[in-house]
C-alpha cells in the first residue's frame, strides 16, 4: 500500500501558540482517517496546511511523493486534493445546480469564453453527483434558503466534482442536530461512492461517528499527534481519554 | 475714462437716439411680415470657473442688448426693431461640461430648438469642437470669444465666423506697449495656466519679446494647472528668480487668487507685472488691485474702450442694468450681436425682406465690417471669417475718490499693427518680425 499523503516534521506556530509540532504521518489510499482533538489542538491548521492555505514553518507535505508544500491552494486542488468547510462555502444566491456548475467550471482546465456553462455534459455530471448526495429534490432551490445540513452536503458534493484522490472534510457533522448526524454521514459515505478510490480525511468531534466511520484515528493535542491507530485502539489510550474525550480528568 | 465722465455726455444723445428709433421702428413694422421671430442660441459659461468672469457678464450683456434691439432703442444704424423687424428670441445654454456636451447641445439648438444662428463659446476646445459640426450641418455659427488662432488658420469654413480677434493680438500689444514706453527688459518671468490658452499666450509673448527685446532672456516659466487657486509656491519661484517683467495670461478666479496672494508678498514691487487679459478683475478687486500693473483687455474694452456715441449708449445700458461697468466679456458679446444684426438686415435687403438662411447670412457677414463700442470690427482674416479689431493697453491706478481702479497711460494699437495680415499664420508672422504691421504708435 502506498501513501497518498505524507507529512514530514511539519511545524507551525502562531506567535507563542504551537499549532503543529513535528507532525509525521502517512495516509494511505482508500483510508478513512478521522482527525480528533479538542478545539485549538491543530486539526484544522493541519488541514489548512495540506490545502496550501497555510504554509508550515518547517517540514514538508508530500502528495503521491511530490512536495506540495510551496504550492497555492488552486494548484494543490488540481493535483487532486479537495476540501469541504466547517462553515459551508457555498453560493447562497445561486441555486443548487448552479453551485455545482460553478464547481464544474472551476475544475475545467481549458476554460472557454463562449462554451455555455449550462451545456448538457456539465449538467449531467452535476445531476449525477446531486443524485448521489440525495440533493436532486433541492436542485432548483436558492441555496440561502436551504437548511444547514443540505448546504454541508452541497459543499461536499462541490468538492467532489473534481473527483479528487484526497478529500478533506472539516467537521462534516458540526452544526447538525444529533439525530441527523448519522443519516448525514450515511449520505456522505454513499456520496463518496463505494469504490475506495477517494481517500478521506475528516475532522470530527463526535466519537460515535468516528468509531463508526473512521478506519483510522489521528488524535491531536496542542499541535502534537498523541495517538494514531485503529479507532478502538486510539480512543482507548489514556492520552486520548484525558485530552480529547475527557473521560479521564487531567490531573 | 470712467462712469461719471460718461453720464454727463449721454443724456442728450439718448433722447435723440430714442426719437430716431421710434421713427425707425414705425417704418420697420410695415416692411416685415407680422410676428416673425429670429431665434438665437447663446452659449456661454453659466457655471464653473469661467462663469463669473466671462460667461455670466457676457450673457447679461446679451440680455440687455436683445431687449434694446427688440424695443428698437439702439442707436443708428442698429435702430431697426429686433433683427430687421423680426423679434429676437434668445435661448441661453451653459457652456460648462466639456466639448462633447457642447457638440450635442449645439446640435440640439439647431435641430430641436430650430435656432437660426448660434452665438457663443469661450473655451478654445469648445470652439474647435463645434465649428466643424456647424459646417457639416450647414448652420450659421458665430464664435464670439474663444482665443485660439487655430480655428481659421487650420480650418476652412463657410458658415462659421469669429467676431473677435484671436489671442495673438493681446501679447503682441503687451510687448509693443513695453517697447513704446521703453521699459527696460533684460529678463522676464512668466506664469500661465497649463492648458491651451496659457500655453499659446506664453508662446506668443515669448516670440514677440524675441523680436522686440532680442537681448531679454526668459526666466521662470511657471505652468500652474487650471483652477489651482493656490499660488504660494509659484510666487516663491517667481520671486527667487529676479526679473524685470513678469508676464501672465491668468484670468478669472485664478488671476484674482494670484493677485491676492502675490501682492502682500511684494511681487508687484519687485517686478513689472503685465497681464494680457486682466481687465475683468478690476471692478471686483478694487483697492486690492496693486497700482502700476500693465494690463490688456483682449480688445479696446471697458475702461479702455474708445469714446463714441455707441459706446456711451452701451456703457450706460449695461452699467444701469447691473450697476457695474462692462468689461471685456460683454463687449465681445455685444460686438458679435451687432455684427449679426447688420448681417441679417443686409441679407434681408438682398433677398427682399425674407428671413435669411444660413448661406445668405454667411454671405452678408463675410468680409463685412461694422462699428462696435470697442471700435471697428473687420472680418479681414480667414477668408473673411475671422475678425480683427484695435486693442489698447493701460496701467492700473486705484482712484480713492472714485473708489475704483482706473487705467492711465492708455495706448491704442490699430488692428493692422497687432494682427497678422490675411493668409499668414500668426506664428510665422510674429517670427518673421510682424511684416506689414501698420500704424503702430
Amino acid at each position: 500500500m502506498k501513501a497518498v499523503l505524507q507529512a514530514r516534521d511539519v511545524e507551525k506556530k502562531f506567535g507563542a501558540v504551537v499549532a503543529a509540532a513535528n507532525i509525521n504521518i502517512d495516509i494511505f489510499a482508500g483510508e478513512r482517517v478521522s482527525l480528533i482533538g479538542s478545539n485549538g489542538a491543530g486539526k484544522t491548521t493541519f488541514v489548512n496546511m495540506i490545502t496550501g492555505y497555510l504554509k508550515p514553518d518547517q517540514g514538508q507535505i508530500l502528495l503521491d511523493g511530490h512536495d506540495i508544500t510551496p504550492l497555492y491552494p488552486r494548484a494543490i486542488t488540481h493535483l487532486g486534493v479537495a476540501r469541504s468547510f466547517q462553515i459551508p462555502q457555498v453560493y447562497g444566491e445561486l441555486n443548487v445546480l448552479e453551485n455545482m456548475l460553478v464547481a464544474n467550471a472551476c475544475h475545467d482546465q481549458r476554460l472557454s469564453f463562449w462554451q455555455p456553462a449550462r451545456r448538457r455534459q456539465a449538467i449531467e455530471r452535476a445531476d449525477a453527483l446531486l443524485d448521489r448526495f440525495a440533493l436532486t429534490e433541492h436542485r432548483a432551490r436558492r441555496v440561502a434558503e436551504l437548511p444547514g445540513g443540505i448546504r454541508k452536503l452541497l459543499d461536499i458534493a462541490m468538492a467532489l466534482t473534481s473527483s479528487p484522490k484526497l478529500l478533506l472534510l472539516d467537521e462534516p457533522t458540526s452544526g447538525v442536530s444529533a439525530e441527523e448526524k448519522f443519516p448525514m454521514m450515511e449520505t456522505i459515505m454513499a456520496g463518496l461512492g463505494q469504490d475506495q478510490s477517494t481517500t478521506v480525511l475528516f475532522v470530527e468531534h463526535d466519537m460515535d461517528i468516528v468509531s463508526r466511520y473512521a478506519s483510522r484515528v489521528v488524535a491531536f493535542y496542542s499541535g502534537r499527534i498523541i495517538a494514531d491507530d485503529k479507532p478502538e485502539v486510539a480512543l482507548a489510550t489514556d492520552d486520548v481519554r484525558r485530552y480529547v474525550t475527557g473521560e479521564l480528568l487531567s490531573e | 475714462m470712467a462712469i461719471q465722465g460718461n453720464r454727463k455726455a449721454t443724456w442728450s444723445r439718448k433722447a435723440v437716439s430714442t426719437a430716431v428709433t421710434l421713427f425707425a421702428s414705425v417704418c420697420a413694422m410695415g416692411s416685415v411680415q407680422a410676428q416673425e421671430t429670429f431665434k438665437v442660441g447663446i452659449v456661454s459659461f453659466l457655471s464653473g470657473q469661467a462663469a463669473d468672469s466671462f460667461g455670466i457678464p457676457a450673457v447679461n450683456g446679451a440680455k440687455v442688448l436683445v431687449d434694446a434691439f427688440n424695443k428698437g432703442s439702439a442707436p443708428a444704424p442698429y435702430n431697426k426693431v429686433g433683427f430687421g423687424g423680426m423679434k429676437i428670441e434668445a435661448i441661453y445654454v451653459d457652456e460648462n461640461g466639456g466639448a462633447t456636451k457642447q457638440v450635442q447641445e449645439m446640435r440640439n439648438l439647431y435641430d430641436r430648438d430650430k435656432v437660426d444662428a448660434v452665438v457663443g463659446y469661450v473655451g478654445s476646445g469648445d470652439c474647435l469642437a463645434v465649428a466643424p459640426v456647424a459646417e457639416e450641418m450647414k448652420k450659421f455659427l458665430i464664435l464670439y470669444d474663444c482665443g485660439t488662432p487655430r480655428i481659421f488658420e487650420d480650418g476652412k469654413y463657410n458658415y462659421v465666423f469669429r467676431t473677435a480677434s484671436h489671442a495673438a493680438m493681446d501679447n503682441v500689444a503687451l510687448a509693443r506697449y513695453l517697447k513704446a514706453k521703453d521699459i527696460k527688459v533684460n529678463s522676464f518671468n512668466m506664469i500661465n495656466q497649463d492648458y491651451a490658452w496659457g500655453q499659446d499666450s506664453k508662446k506668443d509673448f515669448t516670440w514677440t519679446m524675441e523680436k522686440l527685446y532680442p537681448g531679454a532672456k526668459a526666466g521662470e516659466d511657471q505652468l500652474p494647472k487650471f483652477g489651482a487657486g493656490q499660488y504660494g509656491t509659484e510666487i516663491s519661484a517667481l520671486m527667487s528668480k529676479q526679473a524685470d517683467v513678469t508676464h501672465s495670461s491668468l484670468w478669472g478666479g485664478d488671476l484674482q487668487a494670484f493677485i491676492l496672494q502675490a501682492n502682500p508678498r511684494g511681487l508687484f514691487k519687485r517686478t513689472q507685472v503685465v497681464f494680457s487679459a486682466g481687465d475683468h478683475v478690476l471692478p471686483g478687486l478694487g483697492d486690492k488691485m496693486p497700482d502700476g500693473v500693465i494690463l490688456g483687455a483682449r480688445g479696446a474694452y471697458g475702461l479702455m474702450s474708445p469714446k463714441s456715441a455707441l459706446n456711451d449708449w452701451w456703457w450706460d445700458l449695461y452699467s444701469k442694468a447691473y450697476n457695474v461697468y462692462p468689461v471685456q466679456a460683454p463687449y465681445r458679446m455685444v460686438q458679435s450681436l451687432l455684427g449679426l444684426k447688420l448681417a441679417v438686415e443686409k441679407a434681408m435687403a438682398a433677398n427682399g425682406g425674407k428671413k435669411p438662411n444660413a448661406e445668405q447670412l454667411a454671405a452678408a457677414l463675410r468680409n463685412s465690417e461694422w462699428d462696435s463700442p470697442a471700435g471697428k470690427i473687420r472680418m479681414a482674416l480667414g477668408g473673411g471669417h475671422q475678425a480683427i479689431q484695435e486693442t489698447a493697453i493701460g496701467k492700473t491706478r486705484y482712484d480713492a475718490a472714485k473708489k475704483m481702479v482706473v487705467l492711465d497711460d492708455i495706448m491704442r494699437f490699430p488692428a493692422d499693427c497687432v494682427n497678422p495680415p490675411a493668409n499668414m499664420k500668426t506664428e510665422d508672422w510674429i517670427k518673421a518680425g510682424f511684416p506689414g504691421a501698420k500704424g503702430c504708435p
Binding site: T77, Y91, L111, S112 | Q104, P132
Partner: protein, 324 residues
Amino acid sequence: MANQLGTTVSSIATPVRYTVMWALGICIALSLAGMVMPKWLTFLITMAAANGLVSLGIMVLMRGGVVPFGQGMVFAIGGYAAALLSNKLGIKDALLLTLCGGVIAALIAAPFAPLLSRYRGIFFAMLTLALSMVTYGLLMKLEVLGGSDGFNMGRPTLFGQKLPDESVGYIMYVLTISVSTLMALLARIYFDSTRGLITVAAKENELRVEYLGGSVRQAMAINFILAAFCGGLGGSLAVMALGHIEPNFSFWTTSGEFVFVAILAGWQSVIALFVASTVLEVVRSFSSSYFPNTWQMSLGIFLLIVIRFLPRGIGSLWVKGGGK
C-alpha cells in the same frame, strides 16, 4: 447586490439563437427608426451607444465585483488612437478605426491587468482613477495631440465610400448601434460561458473558487482587458461621431458617468445598459436646455432618485429579480 446572481445564471437558459434573433430585431428596428428620427435624436443615440460600450466594459468587471473609476482612460485611448490613425496615417475606414481603437486600448491596458487583478473594492476604483488622471495629465501636456484643446478628426469613410454631409450622421448611427449590438451579443455569450460563471462566483466567494481550482486573478485580468477593448471601441466611435477629441475624455467626471450608467442599468441585462445610457443622455440634454442655470442640480437629483428607487437598476424592471 449579490442577490442578482441567481437570475444572472438562470437567464442562461435562453438559448443563444433566441438572443441573436432578439438582437438583430432590435438592431434593424433601430436602424429603420433612425431614418425617420430627427437628427438630434440619432446623434444622441449614437453617443449613448458609444458610451454604452464603455459601460458594457464596466459591467464585465462589475460581475466580478470590482468597479473601475477610470474607464475614461481606455475611452480616451480608443478615441485618440482612432483620431490619430485617421489624421496622421490616413486610415479612414470607420469600421477599421473602430476596431483599432478597441485593440489599441486593450493592448495598452494589458500590462496593467495583472497588477489590477490583485485589487478589490475601493482600491481598484481608486487605482483605475489614478491611472486615468495620469493619462489626462499626459494628454493635457502633449501638444502634438493638441494639448487641452484636443484636435479635430477628419470625417471617416466606410467600405471605401465617402460619407456625404446629409447622411454621415445616419451612417455613423447605424454603424454604432450595429457594433454595440454585436458587442452586447458577445458579452451575453461570455457572461453565460464557463469563464463568465467563474467571474460571477468570484464576486460572492473568491476563496471557494480557488479551492475548486479556478483562478480568480486570471478571471479579473481577462475581464479588465475585455473592458478596455469595449472602452476603446466606444471611444473611437464617439470621436468619429463628434469629430473632435480632447483630454476630458479621460477626466474623472467622464469615468464617473460611465460607472453611473452601469449602476443605473444593473447587472442582469445588457440591453438595460444601452437604455440607461440613452436615458442619461436625454435627461442631460433636456435639463441643460430647459434649466440652463441648474442643469447640474437636476441631473444630480435624477441620479439620486434612480439610485434610491431602482437599487438593482433599470434591468430589474424586466428581468425578474432573484432573492429577497
